[in-house]
């Protein structure tokens, strides 16, 4: 609005206005950038927590201690104990290994499937593209969480199954993005040149097109990691995911479905809730920063 007002009052200083606007843009991008640095810092802290879990959390995360049930935080148990006396802080640290591990591997599966389908679809075009894209739309139609609870109920809620299921349900957005980029890149001169030199389709796709669209895959992958963590947490919260006693951030919060725990024992559900939110936010910050650096206009669904 201010820019519009400026434009009206000083129509002749249009160039000057553009300059200030780009200066503001730089400042804005800089603050954005600071947020992604903050994101990197938060992710680093959680990664250290996950990697060094057994050394940071001194208690055994699965050790039942019936003398200390639902104790409020103390110096020994800095986040208190749960309904069977397990140390919440240790469970939070060990839970991060499962939660972040599932999300990360699931994401790699999704990126792999999505990139491959997108590349094939965009490169070959024609009926292959048509079939693959209609299939992608078909899978997109189905609510992921609904599909996930069915798959987990049918095949069992082991860590491996959950990881594969989340990966197999998360590739569609990436496939559509990669297809769009491939369609554009395949018309570029260096691709024509490579083909003129007699390069095979596979060589053109993986050696010439793929590196060109990698930045887009990186952005979509980062934002996809945030979704993977959220969906994994929801599944575990509903009690349909990884089975206890193995801790995940999601299943630690299941206890809060009782009103008594919700009201009287916030140390049982607040730490994992805050951990999930902070991690996802940090990952989103990084994704946003990457996207801004690349091209602020790309839309990823």
């Amino acid at each position: 609005m201010s820019t519009a007002a400026d434009r009206k009052s000083q129509p002749l200083e249009f160039e000057n206005l553009v300059l200030t606007e780009s200066q503001r843009g730089l400042w804005y991008r800089f603050t954005r950038h600071r947020l992604s640095l903050l994101g990197i810092a938060i992710v680093a802290v959680f990664t250290i927590g996950a990697v060094f879990a057994p050394w940071i959390g001194v208690h055994n995360p699965d050790a039942v201690d019936l003398d200390h049930i639902k104790n409020a935080p103390t110096l020994s148990h800095i986040m208190g104990t749960d309904s069977v006396g397990r140390d919440v802080f240790s469970r939070l640290l060990h839970g991060s290994r499962i939660t972040l591990g599932i999300a990360l591997v699931a994401l790699l599966i999704a990126v792999g499937i999505g990139t491959l389908i997108g590349l094939i679809s965009g490169f070959l075009r024609g009926w292959v593209d048509n079939v693959l894209m209609r299939f992608t739309e078909l899978v997109m139609t189905f609510p992921i969480l609904f599909a996930l609870i069915i798959l987990v109920a049918v095949f069992g809620g082991s860590i491996v199954n959950i990881t594969i299921a989340i990966g197999f349900l998360g590739w569609m957005g990436i496939a559509r993005l990669v297809r769009g980029q491939t369609l554009a890149v395949r018309e570029m001169e260096f691709v024509t040149a490579a083909r003129a030199l007699g390069a095979s389709d596979r060589r053109v796709i993986f050696l010439h097109i793929l590196p060109e669209i990698m930045p887009y895959v990186a952005v979509a992958g980062t934002l996809g990691l945030a979704s993977a963590i959220l969906i994994e947490a929801a599944l575990n919260f509903l009690g349909l995911g990884v089975q206890i006693p193995t801790a995940t951030w999601g299943n630690m919060m299941t206890a809060a479905q009782s009103l008594h725990v919700l009201k009287k024992q916030p140390w049982l559900w607040l730490p994992p809730g805050v951990a999930i939110s902070m991690t996802v936010l940090a990952v989103n910050f990084i994704g946003e920063g990457l996207r801004d650096a690349l091209d602020p206009r790309i839309q990823i669904d």
């Binding site: 609005m1 139609t141 992921i144 009103l259 919700l262 946003e288």
Partner: protein, 319 residues
């Protein structure tokens, strides 16, 4: 217009069939035997009795044949019988349809209206403190899981400051429908369910509005000497609104997924709460019926969106 709708319908039907085939196959790969779920352990049945039961229920036939039977019956309005209650699936699922439609509809309206107001506000004052606050807040909103929002709402409004009901959709035990009581119960779950989409819509509306504000026709409108209000309201905003139809349908599956969580936590008796229940009961015939209804809803909304878009955007031709 009519040929356009018919062509969309011709796409709709194979997609629906595709989804039911996939679900039916997955469901029948499930370990465990529906017969075992049906009989009680005290029944003294030998292997022959079990085989007879299987044959009577058609469970000895191969999956494609069973799918054919299911499809034939479904087209006649018979969705089979619940493995758990023994009652028709359509009865169990049908009564849950309206609560879910109501909850998702309300969340959709809230997230669209509020999200767009926030997004346009941020775009009109780009780079201001408001823009910055709204952008960061919407990113935070996207990052907090729905169930965490719901837990905090349950704690604050259900316990510390109980001004909203947090259980079910009616204050009385009898199921009589009272509009105000119903809306009063609807408010909190609908707001919680709308959070994620609201944040996404804020971000989307901001980008769309900024894009439109840079376009030539907005410059032309300004050049004509129109007031800033007319330029923004009549030229910019309406064009930013158009792709909203597509965006909304793309996000319907997310909304229905969120409904599973919200319904379970607020005991809202809809499809989402039923799916969790049916999964725990290993009631796969009900899950199959649920799948059919959920996919019909999403695909139906897609169809509706295509038609709406064609009506709203003159650039899209039906032929």
């Amino acid at each position: 217009m009519a040929p356009f709708i018919i062509r969309r319908l011709l796409v709709f039907i194979p997609m629906l069939l595709g989804i039911t085939i996939i679900t039916f196959t997955v469901m029948n790969l499930a370990p465990g035997d529906p017969i075992m779920a049906m009989i009680s352990p005290e029944d003294q049945l030998n292997e022959e009795d079990l085989d007879n039961m299987r044959r009577a229920l058609g469970l000895d036939k191969p999956i494609p044949v069973r799918y054919g039977i299911w499809l034939g019956q479904m087209l006649q309005g018979n969705f089979g019988y619940s493995y758990f209650t023994g009652r028709p699936v359509i009865e169990r699922v049908g009564s849950r349809l309206w609560p879910t439609l109501e909850l998702c509809g309300a969340a959709l309206v809230i997230s669209t209206v509020v999200g767009f107001i926030f997004g346009v506000m941020a775009a009109l004052r780009q780079y201001s403190i408001w823009d910055y606050l709204l952008t960061v807040t919407s990113l935070i909103g996207l990052s907090i899981p729905t169930f965490f929002f719901a837990l905090v709402a349950l704690l604050v409004f259900g316990s510390i400051w109980p001004i909203f009901p947090v259980f079910g959709m009616s204050s009385s035990l009898d199921e009589t429908f009272r509009l105000w009581d119903n809306l009063y119960h609807l408010f909190l779950p609908a707001v919680i369910l709308s959070m994620d989409l609201m944040a996404q819509n804020t971000r989307y509306a901001r980008t769309a509005m900024l894009e439109v504000m840079k376009s030539d026709y907005v410059t032309t409108a300004r050049a004509k000497g129109l007031s800033e209000f007319a330029v923004m309201g009549r030229h910019a905003f309406r064009n930013a609104l158009l792709p909203l139809i597509t965006i909304t349908t793309l996000r319907l599956p997310i909304l229905l997924g969120g409904a599973i969580v919200v319904e379970t936590m607020f005991s809202w008796p809809g499809l989402g709460m039923l799916s969790i229940k049916a999964i725990h009961q290993q009631d796969y015939s009900t899950v199959m019926g649920l799948t059919f209804f959920v996919s019909t809803m999403v695909l139906g909304a897609n169809l509706l969106a295509d038609i709406l878009y064609a009506v709203a955007d003159p650039r899209i031709r039906y032929s």
